[in-house]
């Protein structure tokens, strides 16, 4: 069934988009991530312009992280204090990100920047996650204990604050900085950033695993809602019809993914996720290096009359 997308300005097959939403939802439920880094590239590959894809995926991630955050809230697995400090940074970062997005679009370098960010971020995070998962897998094979966590330089920073539910005593500076960075790249790349945020919070900020996913979902939720608003107001690029189809597919797929994820061991899960992230990054890298079939592109600057 063909449906005309009003903002993307092209007809798509509803079932194809629904299936894409469900597939990405499955993966995101399995790994406990938003899945924006898979959704945005998939939309670009079916012909939706990167700008519309990034802006519309923001609302899709908001929907899936809201349903996630609600269930974590019921389990008291969200640290409200930590979430609000993260949000201070997150909102600032998102505003900066959307502003940069608009500037790059005017310069005609937006598509390039999206592709470059994907290559750099995904190959880095993917290979880190992959090697970490591999090492963890070797350790469990050999039966060795995981290395003890030690305090690092981040815990020497001033402006310390006590986060009760997470039971940590931490400077607000790194928390705000993490929020800004995640908000910024999220707005430009159309990702929630969960797959970066969770490792950063665990390894760098030493947030306990009991509150890390719930809290990161709150940040994702608010930054993505804010990004949706800003993209809608400044760039008019949010395709609500596209977003709705993605949301419905996504939240359904996520439930089945979550069940499948419980059957796989943590290290294997990380290994798989690392591999997945890495392959998306490599896919973008190949696209940039090979000669495009057409060197010219046209962009309309708005129809008048």
């Amino acid at each position: 069934m063909q449906l005309y997308l009003p903002i993307a300005d092209l007809p798509v097959n509803v079932f194809l988009v629904l299936a894409m939403g469900a597939a990405v939802g499955f993966v995101s439920g399995m790994f406990g991530i938003g899945g924006g880094f898979l959704m945005t590239p998939l939309l670009i590959f079916i012909g939706i312009t990167p700008a519309v894809a990034v802006a519309s995926v923001a609302s899709h991630i908001a929907a899936s992280s809201f349903s996630g955050a609600l269930s974590y809230w019921r389990r008291r697995a969200i640290d409200p204090a930590l979430a609000s400090v993260l949000l201070c940074g997150g909102v600032t970062g998102t505003a900066l990100g959307v502003w940069t997005f608009t500037q790059l679009r005017a310069l005609g370098q937006l598509d390039l920047m999206i592709a470059l960010s994907y290559v750099v971020l995904l190959t880095t995070v993917g290979s880190l996650m992959f090697s970490e998962g591999l090492r963890a897998l070797m350790r469990t094979r050999r039966g060795a204990l995981p290395p003890r966590r030690t305090h690092n330089w981040i815990h020497g920073l001033p402006l310390k604050m006590r986060f009760k539910r997470s039971k940590i005593y931490l400077s607000v500076i790194p928390v705000v900085v993490v929020g800004i960075v995640i908000g910024f790249i999220g707005a430009i790349m159309g990702i929630g950033g969960g797959f970066i945020l969770v490792p950063v919070m665990i390894y760098l900020l030493r947030v306990p695993t009991s509150t890390v996913i719930g809290t990161s979902m709150v940040l994702t939720l608010v930054t993505m809602l804010f990004a949706t608003m800003l993209h809608a107001v400044t760039n008019h690029l949010v395709d609500a019809v596209l977003a709705l189809i993605l949301m419905v597919g996504g939240v359904t797929g996520a439930q089945f993914g979550a069940r499948a994820g419980q059957k796989i061991r943590g290290e294997q899960l990380r290994l798989l996720l690392g591999l997945l992230i890495l392959s998306v990054g490599v896919r973008f890298a190949i696209e940039l290096v090979i000669q495009p079939s057409d060197l010219f592109t046209i962009r309309e600057l708005g129809v008048s009359g």
């Binding site: 992280s65 996630g68 609500a240 046209i298 309309e300």
Partner: protein, 256 residues
């Protein structure tokens, strides 16, 4: 500007002769509606050449050129170049108020209808249509083989938005003619001008104009206009929709 004045002068000079034939045309549909499952359609333009007493009796072989122009817009053509091993947009040209849809149809190849000089003046053929570029602070059309101009026409043609066809107009009788106007799925919305130019023995003898309109209807149109005009409300609605979907999902799939 001088070119336009010159054209006007010639039209005025030819007006006496042009009165000899009259063109009567109509399109099959003056209002095309784009619905959710619109996948392109074809309009039909038909008309006849009306002769009167002033028409020279030996003038019987007519040639027609039909130009269909969609709503005008500014467009930017960008060129990628390899920089540090990757392909980056480096150079660009801005095209000012060019038609978003452009079709040129004739009953014979354009170069057989009239002389290159008249073809250029009457903008016959994609190579002769005026496409104004901003070159620095200047506004001008460039030579037809300019890299940006030809790339622009090639890309628009690939999308089915620019086309020329020297055999699309058929004469059913020596004076009765018809042509199809194909409108692709991603056709721009707005008012379309049609110009029909009549030639005999290579000389331009008159023209007439008509128009049709393409409108989006229904839900899509509503969404598109709201997004453009009430960005804030549209954003709020999208946000509310996201929250609703998320909330519904957490209820439907609640496990505890």
């Amino acid at each position: 500007m001088t070119r336009a004045l010159l054209a006007l002068l010639i039209v005025l000079l030819l007006a006496g002769a042009a009165r000899a034939e009259r063109l009567i045309v109509s399109v099959s549909n003056h209002r095309v509606t784009v619905t959710p499952n619109y996948s392109g359609e074809e309009l039909v333009l038909f008309g006849s050449v009306e002769r009167d007493a002033a028409t020279p009796p030996d003038r019987t072989a007519y040639d027609l050129v039909v130009t269909v122009m969609g709503p005008r817009a500014d467009m930017v053509t960008r060129r990628k170049e390899r920089t540090f091993g990757i392909w980056i947009n480096t150079d660009y040209r801005q095209f000012l108020q060019v038609p978003s849809y452009l079709a040129l149809f004739a009953n014979r190849p354009f170069d057989a209808i009239t002389s290159p000089e008249i073809a250029r003046r009457q903008q016959i053929g994609l190579n002769n249509v005026l496409l104004t570029q901003r070159v620095g602070g200047d506004y001008a059309d460039v030579v037809p083989n300019d890299a940006f101009r030809s790339a622009f026409i090639r890309l628009r043609t690939q999308r089915g938005l620019y086309r020329e066809d020297g055999s699309a107009v058929t004469f059913l009788t020596p004076t009765l003619f018809r042509t199809g106007i194909p409108l692709p799925a991603e056709v721009p919305i707005g008012t379309y001008q049609i110009e029909i130019k009549l030639f005999a023995n290579g000389a331009f003898i008159g023209k007439t104009e008509t128009a049709f309109e393409i409108v989006k209807v229904g839900f899509e149109q509503f969404v598109a206009t709201t997004a453009r005009q009430n960005g804030f409300l549209y954003g709020l609605a999208t946000v509310a929709m996201a929250l609703m979907t998320g909330w519904m999902a957490s209820i439907v799939f609640r496990k505890d």
